[in-house]
């Protein structure tokens, strides 16, 4: 059990900066997922915690001890690699027990602990095999067992599930979660898969281009994305983002031939400014054609089994809408939407940062939403 403090950590390769001053704190026993597109620096950050990359600037402390200059073995971390990195010339038992062998644990005790650990991950019948004779999922388990057996203070996972097929990925995800509950070591898990991130994380760190975009609980990030990047990265299909001008007189934004109402106090605050407005596809509501509302022309439909997604065009821009099983539409149809104002997100057009709506309207959310859940007429 150990906490990890990352203070103003920077990394550059030659003159190319990869991380620009990252500040994070992972509490003891927490399961943190670092999420971001490839090249955002998430793996680099993980490898710096592990001691596999030098730290260009700032410091990393594990359990209160600055580890910048410590060798990987002195940091008390165990790591699961993306490609498993199993030793191909050793048996499964040899792979799992290598760390103990290096630290000079006597053979009898080593074998006892290998057997114990293999049982945890369900590999007890495969101990004599070589990694080449195992399936992807089994290799993944060996990699996990190799990390577990050291009883580390910190677990580091570098996209460990990305080489598995979809079904296996889901079951391994559950196993990693169970394992964490059982061992309760601080875990840092790097991934580019938002579903993995949402399901595993106690706390989620979203990174982009060497910066931390947002840190928070998964639902918090889903409901209050701190920037347009987070908004479009989390959630599938991605949040619809449109540029619009807040019109103060009518307290709304003009969109898709309709006026979408927003909170008047908030509208007053933004007074005629251009903003990026976001709404998730699953938060768009259908309205009857006569009732007015935002008109969306359906380009094509994606069937998901449970519900479907209509990819539409509004004002010539792409706009996705999640539909339930009962709504039948076809390409070329027009849908009329109401966009509930409590589900609208506003972002600064320059910086892409979130503009808080409830700072302007600190009233209880339900009351505010009821008031604004009406839509303006069509023209």
């Amino acid at each position: 059990m150990a906490d990890i403090a990352i203070r103003a950590v920077r990394k550059s390769y030659g003159k190319t900066p990869a991380l620009h001053g990252v500040d994070l704190f992972f509490a003891s026993g927490e399961f943190v997922v670092i999420l971001g597109p490839s090249g955002c620096g998430k793996s680099t950050l993980l490898r710096m915690i592990a001691g596999l990359e030098d730290i260009t600037g700032g410091e990393i402390a594990i359990d209160g001890r600055v580890v910048n200059r410590l060798e990987p073995r002195e940091r008390g971390c165990a790591m699961v690699f993306q490609n498993y990195a199993l030793y191909p010339h050793m048996s499964v038992a040899g792979n799992i027990g290598y760390a103990l062998k290096v630290s000079g644990v006597p053979k009898a005790e080593r074998e006892r602990r290998i057997a114990e650990t293999a049982k945890i991950v369900g590999l007890q019948d495969y101990l004599a095999r070589r990694p080449a004779a195992l399936s992807g999922g089994q290799r993944q388990r060996v990699a996990m067992a190799r990390a577990i057996i050291r009883e580390p203070k910190v677990f580091l996972f570098d996209e460990p599930l990305s080489n598995l097929d979809a079904k296996l990925r889901i079951s391994m995800r559950a196993e990693i979660r169970k394992l964490h509950q059982r061992l309760s070591a601080t875990s840092v898990f790097v991934t580019h898969d938002q579903v993995e991130a949402m399901t595993l994380a106690d706390r989620l760190v979203v990174m982009n281009r060497g910066h931390v975009e947002q840190v928070g609980r998964p639902l918090e990030i889903y409901h209050r994305p701190a920037s347009t990047f987070v908004a479009s990265f989390i959630g599938a299909p991605a949040m619809n983002l449109v540029r619009s001008r807040v019109e103060v007189e009518s307290a709304g934004i003009r969109f898709g031939g309709a006026m979408v109402a927003i909170d008047p106090a908030f509208a007053a605050k933004l007074r005629g400014q251009d903003v990026t407005v976001g709404i998730r596809p699953e938060h768009c509501c259908l309205a009857a054609p006569g009732d007015g509302g935002v008109e969306a022309r359906v380009d094509f439909i994606e069937e998901l089994g449970v519900g479907r997604v209509a990819y539409c065009e509004v004002d010539g821009l792409p706009f996705a809408i999640s539909l339930d099983d009962h709504t039948v539409v076809a390409a070329g149809d027009s849908l009329f939407l109401t966009l509930p104002s409590e589900h609208l997100h506003f972002f600064d057009i320059e910086s892409g940062r979130r503009i808080e709506t409830d700072a302007a309207a600190p009233v209880a959310a339900p009351a505010a939403s009821q008031h604004s859940e009406q839509t303006m007429g069509v023209h």
């Binding site: 060798e71 030793y87 191909p88 010339h89 290096v102 080449a132 050291r150």
Partner: protein, 296 residues
Amino acid sequence: MEKRAVFKSWWLPIVFALPQLLLILCFFYWPVAAVVNWAFTLEPPFGGPAEFVGFANFQEAFADPFYWNSVVVSLIFAIVGPLFAISIGLVLAIAVDRQLPGSGFFRFLYILPYAIAGPAAGMAFRFILSPERGLAASLNAMWPDIWNPAKYGEHALALVIIIFIWKWSGYTFIFLLAGLQSVPRALGEAAAMDGAGPFRRAIDVQVPLLAPTLFFLLVTMMTEGFVGADTFGIVHAVTEGGPNHGTEVMVYRIVDEAFKGLNYSGASAQSIILIGLIMIFTFIQFRFVEKRVHYK
């Protein structure tokens, strides 16, 4: 789309291959046939038809204590030289593979000796390690005759082996570095996370995964040690087999007998024995060492 030239006539491809075929015939098959012929006949030194003598040439070689001396010298040369050349190449390759600052320069530096001809290196070392100059002279002043290859056969043998090692370490280095670079980085990192230091990682992870390369080098280097051009060239340039046959490796003795002693028949018989010896060694290597090589 595969582009393939198809010859319509049967003689055109043969004409194209002819120069190479002639070269192989003149410099390989013909000499081999001549050696086999000579090994079982006696060529009169002053001309005349060769006389078939059966195994007499072999019996003569086996009866000669100097012949057995050359076998022992060759064995020492072909075992000690390659083992050191491979070990040194391995250490250098592992060091360069860590990609510490300046490793590019050292990589270039370590390959260089291989570009120098054996006899040339031999001449240089004759001066560098001569007993009356430089470091060796100081040592000899303190402990007389601690290093004198002109006087002691063992010292002379050590000298030629050192030259062989110096040159061929560059060769093993290239192969081992290439081998190391094909070992996935993540394996070394995993071992580092498992608590292994650089030395432990080399022994436990890198060397086992280099086994195919090491085995290849063992076979080729031992063959080189027995019959390589450098083996002859170094001995010829540095010691000429002396002192008192102390560095007379089999190839040197064969050339010496054939072209100085004009004993073509004896030299041919010894050549065939040498080829047989290499075959036996290679067989042993494949039979017993290769079993422990993991190719995957």
